[in-house]
Symmetry: C2
Subunit: 292 residues, 2 copies
């Protein structure tokens, strides 16, 4: 196991313990509501956002216990976005992480509510942190902005709109990548920076945006080159649905070249950060060549 | 114009000014996202939640400017819930407030995102209040709990589940009424109470729950006795879809009797509150005999 793999496993295990505590405390009714929330939260996934947050915490010497509830809120928001994204009227995906999507198991009505419930619960968690003081409010607000109508939701809306219009250019693609994907991958790095009153705030924010765009670029490449067994979700969908992707705009080789350039940019940004940044360097290289 | 009407008009106008400010500051892209949010927020409605909050503020001597952002957040949450509720996989309603539902105008995918966007923006507003201190955090948390998986979402989930099951009894009906409707009508009263450090907290909470159940009861009665022109939404839907309602469980006369009992209870609770409670008394009597 590489150093990155072992770190990712360690962080994911630590996060899953936090998640288990949360799930054990879940007492909502009717049972189908609790079941549908649990189903998607327990479906696995790499827990990349919590892992990035814990790694950034180590880099900046922020105690992990300070970050756990933020990591939980972020993962809840990420999971809600997947549930709503998979709905028939959105991306219409029957599989997620190798399992039937939430709406295939519980029906679309319950899936809408499961997503709403996760989003609302994420804010219940983020509001609880606010009593600790203003920097905790600022951290909660950063996550909120990353997820909202000037962040992820704007990206999803643009993806849906320009995909349906068949309209695409570099500016639109950049807007979609940055908002739909990159902002929610930036938040895990910026939250620890805010809790240290701004240590490497700009560098980590810039790294997050570029890394997030790299992540989405390689996701688009995998939609062409990947297979269902490794990805746990349908492939070849972007082309079928004529989605706005880098592959469509630049071709497969053009997209790969851009991924290389973004990876270089990420590594250069890390050069300006003191301390052990090897986790993030390895994460960039892994993402560049990822198969899932 | 009755005293209640003139008060409701006054509060709605004051709220609409707050809403206009918010809408003018909305700069999200793509345009369809902003348009879909605005469409549902501007569709009118009685602004009953903001009005109740402003009235409770007057009763408890809380400055209205202290409440405006909470009222805005509540109305955003209420509006998101209507958009998601009207979706084909939920209540499948083509009309709302006399106009085509959000998904009929923008498509179901955009309607999902419009709802998500409103919910997220409500929390952006509630988080902004948190810097003012702990009682402001508590007020935000009360709204969050009223809207979430131990509040409105639980009620919607139960409504969907037990409706589909054809299962109904008094306990289930009470759970649905209290969670789906009453908690979001309690929050406008409890927020001002929290901001006064708890003045009449219990009384206003109890009034809100009973008033909310009365409100839902008369809504169910209107679904049988009302007409599209007054209501601006489809009628006769509960029976067609075999929904859990008081009319189904107790019959029309039985439902009306229960509405009378709830109204009496509301008025009795108000007797225990000092100051001018005439707005709320009139609101109870209006709700009991409402035609829309």
């Amino acid at each position: 196991m590489s150093n990155l793999d072992s770190k990712l496993t360690e962080y994911a295990e630590k996060f899953n313990a936090v998640l288990r505590n949360f799930l054990n405390s879940l007492k909502c009714e009717p049972k189908i509501l609790a079941d549908s929330l649990k189903y998607s939260l327990e479906a696995g996934g790499k827990r990349i956002r919590p892992s990035m947050m814990f790694a950034a915490g180590e880099l900046l010497c922020v105690d992990r216990t300070e970050l756990e509830q933020y990591a939980l809120a972020l993962e809840l928001i990420h999971t809600y976005s997947l549930i709503h994204d998979d709905l028939p009227e959105m991306d219409n995906d029957d599989y997620r992480r190798g399992k039937p999507s939430n709406h295939k198991v519980f029906g679309a009505g319950n899936a809408v509510l499961a997503g709403d419930g996760l989003l609302n619960t994420a804010y219940s968690i983020l509001l609880s942190e606010c009593r600790k003081g203003n920097k905790y409010v600022a951290a909660s607000e950063f996550i909120c902005e990353s997820a909202g109508i000037y962040g992820m939701i704007a990206g999803q809306s643009a993806d849906l709109f320009f995909g349906a219009e068949g309209q695409i250019n570099e500016e639109i693609l950049g807007y979609i990548y940055e908002n739909k994907t990159a902002k929610m991958l930036t938040a895990p790095l910026v939250v620890p920076a805010i809790l240290t009153d701004g240590k490497y705030y700009s560098e980590l924010k810039l790294f997050g945006i570029n890394f997030g765009c790299l992540f989405q670029l390689t996701d688009d490449i995998l939609d062409v080159e990947g297979d269902f067994a490794s990805l746990g979700k349908s492939v070849g969908k972007d082309k079928k649905e004529d989605k706005c992707t880098a592959v469509k705009l630049f071709g497969l080789e053009g997209a790969k070249l851009r991924a290389d350039i973004l990876a270089d940019k990420c590594l250069k940004i890390l050069n300006g950060v003191e301390g052990d940044t090897s986790f993030f360097e390895q994460l960039v290289l892994y993402t560049l060549s990822r198969k899932s």
